[in-house]
Symmetry: C2
Subunit: 429 residues, 2 copies
């Protein structure tokens, strides 16, 4: 009997009616002969409502207590899902993250999973029951306190449990049909990607694709756990995220296909750009700057340093970071201004990032040129550029994001349902 | 350093503002030099709302899952109380029933506490923190599943923890000033009882006084834990529930007083009366009847059997039970009608019970006569009578309850602030 892990997000369990529908789908999977473990998020906006309540009581609630509070959300949804399944005549047992053996470090609010010991889940499955597990939460190995995993935590719970239990697949149910070549709200002709490698999915997620979180994909890649991202509102196939190996094509439902050069176009409007102007061009100045910023626990994304002007011996360093960290970063930098001796700081939160992702660009040097040409043709000015082996990202004016995404998507013919991008594989363009 | 356990009910933590006020009181107790353990109920109507949600999902939710669901309520309130305390500059750590070591049997929805192992609470106190504990819940010793204790469960949690930790007192905070000689909504001149024995309080609770639950008082009596019932909205002394020993008077704040004969008048409108008409007067018929009823897990309160009529050799047996169990009892009895051969069943849910409670009535035989005379003078017809050593209860028409309570309260001069009832102790009436 094969084991399937299914994860349902907050919108899939938003009210009693949705929960009953989710229960139907879970029971159908059980009746099809699978062992089923289900990971659930909190209902709809529960988590936000609890955070609001916490803020009313204490402006800066202790992390331990905030985690204790927020984990009530999944506790409610998991018990209700288990009840709805029982009402359909199947036994279901719900488990908190702690009961399910999700062991984490003790970083409240952003804990990392360090071990999964799913003995009680295995016991419930062996007894013929469906196991329902609270996503997003675990228990600290050292303090035994309840922890939460941070954004995307429920997806990570699902993949981690799937890996620990040796599941056949981890199904992530969401309100869209899978991962698309671009955001369909911007590019209506964007198409569902039937299959994508972990590596490409990581780049897509890091570049702003919201369907799957980075950590969950990282976890899946580490353990080689296939993820199937699909809609909880239809029976259609979604997107398979798997190793890029011939052997894995059978899990796609028989759709063996040539690997496309380009997976898709991602965009991100959540970042801001900081420019440190007039940094003396000496060894160690960049290190001081980024030590100061990372000391404020801020994650930096892109970094660009211009060639220094010969006349002044000074250079500009720009970097992007989450908008929410903007003020903290500026404060940290102002503190080191006397020491570093840079001239000024500039802050721009009206930027957007547009990224093209595809494993095939490794062996196709023409991709960058085509990407920049598409942006130029669309009249989009580029402010920053960064690349990885399988990704090109540019920072543009926020107002240009839609135009940039659409023109790049068109230039690479990603909206062609026959997958025109595949043609490039043979032409070497 | 003495240890105080405080319990706050749902109305004391109904919203963010109330929670902040409760935090002030807790911190004041800590600042006065006590170690403090706080037991909280779920906020306001949370438990009822969760039950409603469960009923929408499944008409008959499994007990295990219902308990998992309901315990989310205290999880929310305890985390918020801990945050509010932290906001006042004191460390507070919240603990679920399971984390606090509240070990129960596995009877979901009505679990009994079988052990309390408060190691983590002791640890938090030793570290200088205030411990906040979720009331109403525990963990099953055998299955490790989360359980709830049923009605009044948070009071029981508080007393159990107080006993296990060797607390000086268990303070039960509520929205009234203590235990009264009668319900002040019926008898506006009812006065607060400054001190009452466990035994009397048990009878008061069993007779419908809602301030404290039977189980909590039973637990306190077993462990000799003084309870102080008081209002969370004032600093006034409430009612001390203690052993009836001279040594305990010092905990009353020095109010040494002669023991009153009568504690108070309690009433209860939650019961119904079943009469089994025409039961053959043979050995074992009553046993069959009550075996059938208790087999349906129904708790019976009063039982009255008339002398059988010589002509027919048949008798009537009446008993009272919670209204909510009425239909189940009738069904159970109908099933055994052929076997027992009684004539018919009568059901009356328009009854009320009025009880007079007082340890002093043991040595004062005139109390019953005075009680019945008061009812007769008020024109109240008595349907059933039952007595214990320190209580007389009558069943009357529901519409007569208020009149009966007021007239008995007046007859025993319970509203006299000088405690006229005490006078009887010497007169032997």
């Amino acid at each position: 009997m094969s084991l399937v892990v299914q994860k349902y997000g907050g919108s899939s369990v938003a009210d009693a009616e949705s929960i009953k529908q989710v229960a139907q789908r879970i029971v159908a999977t059980r009746r099809a002969g699978h062992e089923v473990v289900v990971v659930v998020s909190a209902m709809g906006d529960t988590t936000d409502e609890l955070i609001e309540l916490a803020e009313k009581v204490a402006p800066l609630p202790p992390g331990r207590e905030l985690d204790m509070l927020l984990t009530a959300g999944e506790r409610i949804s998991m018990a209700l899902v288990a009840m709805a399944i029982a009402n359909l005549g199947h036994e279901a047992r719900s488990f908190t993250g702690s009961q399910a053996g999700v062991i984490t470090d003790s970083a409240h609010g952003r804990a990392r999973i360090i071990d999964v010991t799913p003995g009680r889940i295995r016991g419930a499955l062996d007894a013929g029951a469906i196991a329902i597990v609270a996503g997003f939460q675990g228990v600290s190995q050292s303090t035994k306190d309840i922890t939460t995993l941070g954004r995307g935590g429920s997806d990570t719970t699902a993949v981690a449990l799937a890996a620990a239990l040796g599941a056949q697949v981890c199904e992530i149910y969401t309100d869209v049909d899978g991962v698309f070549t671009a955001d369909p709200r911007i590019v209506p002709t964007a198409r569902r990607i039937p299959r994508i490698s972990y590596e490409e999915m990581l780049e897509m997620a890091a570049s702003g694709a919201k369907v799957l979180h980075l950590r969950c994909v990282e976890y899946a890649r580490r353990y080689g756990m296939p993820i199937h991202v699909r809609s909880s509102f239809s029976q259609a196939e979604g997107t398979w995220v798997t190793e890029n190996q011939p052997g894995t094509t059978e899990t796609e439902g028989g759709q063996d296909m040539e690997q496309a050069i380009i997976s898709g176009v991602a965009h991100d409007r959540s970042e801001a750009k900081v420019t440190v102007v007039g940094v003396p061009d000496k060894v160690g100045e960049a290190a001081r700057i980024f030590t100061a910023v990372s000391g404020a626990e801020i994650n930096i994304d892109m970094i660009v340093q211009n060639v220094s002007a010969a006349a002044t011996g000074r250079t500009d360093i720009s970097f992007t970071l989450p908008k929410s960290d903007g003020q903290a970063a500026l404060k940290a930098l102002e503190r080191i201004q006397p020491e570093v001796g840079f001239e000024s700081l500039r802050y721009d939160d009206r930027i957007g990032k547009v990224s093209l992702v595809g494993a095939g660009m490794r062996s196709n040097p023409g991709v960058s040129a085509k990407f920049f040409a598409a942006l130029a043709d669309a009249g989009v000015n580029i402010e920053m550029i960064s690349t990885s082996e399988i990704r090109i990202s540019v920072v543009v004016d926020q107002d240009d994001v839609d135009t940039a995404v659409a023109s790049v998507h068109r230039a690479f013919e990603l909206d062609d349902p026959d997958g025109a991008a595949v043609v490039y594989a043979g032409t070497g363009r």
